[in-house]
């Protein structure tokens, strides 16, 4: 379970002067669900496209099962399935015709194809929609069909580029359940997302920001790397409080969570005891505080905003 399937070695992609991806090095083990987290434009899609052999790396290299993803892309492509960010199936072809076409394109033997299509329709729960044009499916079903098409040649590795963006919570849940099933059957999954809660569902998470890898570890290790205690306070009115607290020099950042303010500070205990003696904002009413555990969003904020004071080195 621990031999790396995907290895990136100082992988970079520059578009003119824009550094889309810069010196990205990481390795992903077989059987993992690797979540690649980052804001829009952070370099997630570019990285994935390089791994799929759709974009030539400017420098560095990446291998899948030991084969260079650019030089050996014809071989590498038989080893993975790819679900693109945009719906990219044929809307005028039916569900079954789409599956059949990609099966043929991926050289699935004719004798096996019918059985595989049957299995995939069952897996994605699209049996009833078999003869329906893909263009008239709902967003969630389209995404399931795209997943089916990516799996038609039984690949050991699956790339998904924001597979749940734009999906309703029900279909999001369904997509993730499917990914768990696939992972259970031994498929390595590389998924990009900008939903923090989805990162918690992965076995390994990588943070990317402006083309650079900020951290890579399991969700638990990442959360444990958040050293500071997290203070949440209740203040009224909340919005002016947020703006003014943000400007305090000892506070790195403030985020609003369920009506309370979460404060990122290097030494929150000191802050609280000082405030108990003297609350510096007479026009804001402070009526409660509590200590909370950092969630993935806190960790990502800390890494992406460079709040190094609240982070400690990752345990390997």
């Amino acid at each position: 379970m621990s031999d790396p399937v995907i290895v990136l070695d100082r992988l970079s992609k520059f578009y003119d002067s824009i550094h889309a991806v810069e010196n990205l090095s990481l390795s992903i083990d077989s059987g993992e669900i690797f979540g690649f987290l980052g804001a829009n434009g952070a370099g997630k899609t570019t990285t994935m496209r390089m791994l799929c052999g759709l974009t030539r790396p400017t420098s560095g290299k990446a291998t899948i099962a030991g084969a260079d993803v650019w030089k050996k892309r014809q071989i590498v492509r038989t080893k993975f399935g790819y679900v693109a960010q945009r719906f990219s199936l044929y809307p005028d072809l039916t569900v079954e015709e789409n599956l059949r076409f990609f099966g043929g394109a991926c050289r699935v033997p004719r004798t096996e194809l019918d059985k595989r299509i049957g299995n995939l329709l069952q897996l994605t729960d699209l049996e009833a929609k078999r003869g329906v044009p893909a263009g008239s499916l709902s967003g969630g079903m389209r995404q399931l069909l795209a997943l089916g098409c990516a799996l038609v040649h039984n690949p050991p590795l699956l790339f998904l580029d924001e597979p749940t963006s734009g999906l309703d919570p029900v279909h999001r849940q369904r997509m993730w359940n499917l990914l768990y099933d696939l992972s259970h059957s031994g498929i390595t999954i590389f998924v990009t997302t900008h939903y923090m809660d989805e990162a918690e569902r992965c076995t390994e998470v990588g943070f990317i920001e402006r083309g650079r890898l900020l951290a890579k570890a399991s969700p638990r290790a990442l959360k444990e790397s958040f050293s500071a205690k997290l203070l949440e306070i209740d203040v009224d009115p909340v919005m002016p409080a947020l703006v003014r607290l943000r400007d305090q020099p000892e506070i790195l950042g403030v985020s609003l969570r369920s009506g309370s303010l979460r404060l990122y500070a290097a030494e929150p205990e000191k802050l609280v005891s000082r405030w108990r003696q003297h609350w510096p904002f007479p026009d804001l009413r402070w009526f409660g505080e509590r200590w909370v555990d950092a969630d993935m969003e806190d960790v990502f904020t800390a890494y992406s905003q460079g709040y190094s004071a609240v982070l400690k080195p990752l345990k390997e």
Binding site: L54, Y82, S88, P91, D92, F101, G104
Partner: protein, 395 residues
């Protein structure tokens, strides 16, 4: 070729066929356009002759002599004469009268014909359309010549006996010379290559070329552009399909359709217009090369444009000069030299010329060699270019 390659090509071809089949509007276009175009073009140019051209006749010299000329002019099928009194005037306002020509017989014309100083007839012609004016003048000149001949004959018949007696005294050679000079001299022509001068026989390759270029280039141009626009091209590229498999697979359905189109046009031209086709095998080779050229061009445009809209725009920009300058509907000979060289760049020019060389001139292969080579070269260039551009998309 490996079996898996054939299977992959078949998958792409079948998918592409489904795209065409599902797009009912295109399908209807493909089925209706070729026969309709053939019928319309065939009938539009069927009659090359000018007949029943509306014209004005103003006779300001009301004499029996002039009337004889008017009667002769009225027998002409070329003109549909409308008489107008000389007082009305405005004979140069052709547009106002709704005519294409106006003939004025000036006052004292018949007198001038016999007093040794014949006056000319005055003719106003609509020269907007560059061909008709000259043709109309020619026809009128013919009528006038006939009239002159009749008049001369009558003059000779009316000569007194003494003149003939006098003439008999001339040496036989001189008399023969006179007889010859008085007989209308004529040309006995033999029209070769298209003896009945049927325009349809000339224009058939033009129709085939027009329809094929219009449909295959634009449809083919859309295929890859569409996949690029919708993002499916990347999905195609991450499969193990090779570039050439995608290209061949995409071309096959259009190739089949184009062959059907050509057959439709040829059968219709044969049955309806009685066009005869000779040396079918050679014609088939010419058509096939031209077809590949058209598909290659479409492919090239497709690989070049990012969206379907662009693909259509590029196709139209390319096709417009082709239709005007390729010699599909009018001979190229009258064009200036540099434009003729420019026209040599279009596959349609070579296709039409080669097709006519075979079907009208029955020329041997040596006459076709240059055009065939040009078509082959076109196929090569477009396909290599398209492959090269597709390779660039990939990177």
């Amino acid at each position: 070729m490996k079996r898996s390659t054939l299977g992959a090509i078949a998958s792409v071809a079948y998918k592409e066929f489904l795209h065409i089949y599902r797009d009912r509007r295109v399908l209807v276009l493909l089925l209706i356009l070729p026969p309709v175009f053939t019928l319309v073009f065939g009938h539009a140019f069927e009659i090359g002759d000018l007949t029943n051209v509306p014209a004005l006749l103003i006779n300001a010299d009301q004499t029996p002599h002039t009337q004889r000329f008017v009667d002769l002019a009225l027998t002409s099928k070329t003109f549909r004469w409308r008489m107008q009194s000389p007082q009305a005037g405005g004979e140069s306002d052709l547009l106002g009268h709704g005519v294409q020509a106006a003939l004025v017989i000036p006052k004292g014309w018949s007198a001038s014909l016999v007093n040794g100083d014949p006056k000319p007839l005055r003719l106003y012609l609509d020269g907007a359309d560059t061909n008709t004016a000259q043709q109309l003048e020619g026809r009128l000149q013919e009528t006038l010549g006939k009239f002159q001949l009749n008049e001369r004959q009558e003059m000779i018949d009316a000569l007194p006996e003494e003149v003939f007696d006098l003439a008999k005294k001339l040496p036989i050679e001189v008399r023969k010379q006179f007889v010859s000079a008085m007989t209308p001299w004529s040309i006995e022509n033999k029209v070769l290559y298209n003896p009945k001068s049927r325009f349809i026989d000339y224009v058939v390759p033009g129709i085939i070329g027009l329809i094929l270029q219009l449909l295959t280039v634009t449809l083919m141009a859309c295929t890859i552009a569409r996949e690029r626009e919708s993002g499916t091209l990347y999905q195609l590229m991450v499969t193990s399909l090779r570039r050439r498999e995608i290209v061949i697979g995409k071309i096959l359905p259009y190739l089949a359709i184009s062959v059907l189109l050509i057959l439709t046009i040829i059968l219709l031209a044969g049955w309806h217009f009685h066009v005869k086709f000779h040396r079918h095998a050679v014609l088939a080779v010419i058509c096939f090369l031209f077809l590949l050229c058209s598909l290659g061009l479409g492919l090239l445009i497709s690989a070049f444009s990012r969206t379907q809209t662009q693909a259509i725009q590029f196709s139209v920009f390319f096709l417009l000069p082709v239709f005007v300058l390729s010699g599909a509907f009018a001979p190229l000979d009258q064009l200036p030299k540099f434009i003729r060289y420019f026209a040599e760049l279009f596959p349609l020019t070579h296709f039409c010329r080669a097709f006519r060389l075979v079907n009208l001139y029955r020329a041997g292969i040596s006459y076709l060699a240059v055009d065939l080579a040009a078509l082959c070269f076109g196929v090569l260039i477009t396909f290599v270019g398209a492959m090269f551009l597709l390779r660039r998309i990939e990177q």
